[in-house]
């Protein structure tokens, strides 16, 4: 006997907690991929004053600022996803999962917007 093949299960995953789990995973992956770039940039900065200026000039580019905003959102999503999990694990809050999910998304978007406004005004 074996399990039935070709029975799609994606519909059973369309609920706030599962989507929060997925976002937590994907944002974690994005942050993990960013770490080598982060260390490369840090390595460049300490090479020389000229290299530092070059990296600073590069980071002032609007596209880089936009990418950084994405990074801030990923970081905030991962943080909020972790807090959601802690809420489940330590029974801190057992309200509606949709409310936790909405809080997670709202927090991340607010953090991203704040960063973007700061980058644009600065």
């Amino acid at each position: 006997m074996s399990e039935a093949r070709s029975i799609p299960a994606w519909r059973s995953r369309m609920h706030p907690s599962w989507i929060a789990f997925l976002i937590h995973r994907l944002s974690g992956l994005a942050l993990a991929l960013f770490i080598p770039v982060h260390f490369w940039a840090l390595g460049r900065i300490v090479e020389s004053e000229a290299a530092l200026d070059a990296v600073l000039a590069w980071s002032a580019h609007p596209l880089v600022k936009l990418a950084e905003t994405g990074l801030v959102i990923a970081l905030a999503l991962h943080l909020a996803g972790g807090i959601r999990l802690l809420g489940v694990e330590f029974a801190l809050w057992r309200g509606r999962p949709g409310a936790a999910f909405a809080g997670m998304i709202g927090f991340a978007l607010a953090a991203g917007l704040l960063f973007l406004l700061n980058a644009v005004s600065g």
Binding site: A4, R5, I7, R13, H15, S17, A91, R94
Partner: protein
């Protein structure tokens, strides 16, 4: 006026089977189990499926309905097939015997592995044990005790799909109700049984069990309770 019909795709065969489509007349207050029964009685008597009570007590009629695990006796067509199309398949994560009937043996074997049997502690005496209804232990046991063993949560759980030896939400929920039963004496061995690699700590908090449980139980809350209790027991050197 032509009779309203439902296009129903039903899984036929074992694990390597396929869907077959049947036309079933639409009726008022029709449930998914009514549809499956109609097919078996009027179109194809060889269709295999399981049911018993028809009122949401026995837990035997669970199937995958449009990709979502549900108790079919209490799932109205109006809720799941508003557009006239319905797909009925066997539960995910369990071997298919034939058509819509799955082998529940692996599911209940995990209840046994999680030490899901009541283990009376010594010194209970012959009198009825008094369990104060308002005590925290009784409240925690109450929250999970209405499980009907339908395996909807087990079928909804991706951790079971990814890690076949994982005990699953129903067995862990059962262990949690027993751990909170003040008459039970098997707390330590039960905590040890659920704290292994394939036990409560494998849960990722996706909460599919909580979302889909037809009895609105919260197995993910029970699993979190087991995580806290087993971690504490391990720190104290009890398990």
């Amino acid at each position: 006026m032509a009779e309203a019909m439902l296009d129903v795709r039903v899984w036929r065969g074992a694990g390597d089977g396929a869907f077959r489509t049947y036309a079933v007349p639409r009726r008022a207050n029709q449930t998914v189990l009514d549809v499956v029964s109609w097919i078996q009685r009027h179109l194809d008597p060889t269709l295999s499926y399981r049911f018993a009570c028809r009122v949401g007590m026995c837990g035997s009629c669970a199937m995958s309905v449009n990709g979502v695990p549900r108790w079919t006796c209490r799932t109205h067509i109006a809720k799941v097939a508003a557009e006239g199309a319905l797909t009925v398949a066997p539960l995910r994560n369990l071997p298919v015997i034939k058509d819509l009937a799955v082998d529940m043996a692996p599911f209940f074997a995990k209840w046994a592995r999680a030490r899901g049997q009541f283990d009376p502690r010594s010194g209970l005496g012959s009198e009825f044990a008094r369990v104060p209804p308002a005590s925290p232990e009784r409240a925690a046991a109450d929250a999970g005790i209405e499980c009907i063993g339908c395996a909807v949560c087990y079928s909804a759980c991706d951790v079971v799909a990814w890690m076949p030896e994982y005990l699953g939400p129903a067995a862990l929920n059962r262990a949690w109700t027993l751990i909170n039963d003040t008459r039970d004496g098997g707390r330590k061995p039960r905590l040890a049984a659920v704290a292994g690699d394939a036990g409560c700590h494998a849960c990722h908090g996706q909460e599919g069990c909580r979302k889909h449980c037809p009895k609105s139980l919260d197995p993910s809350g029970a699993i979190a309770g087991l995580k806290r209790m087993s971690a504490l027991a391990a720190l104290k050197g009890e398990i």
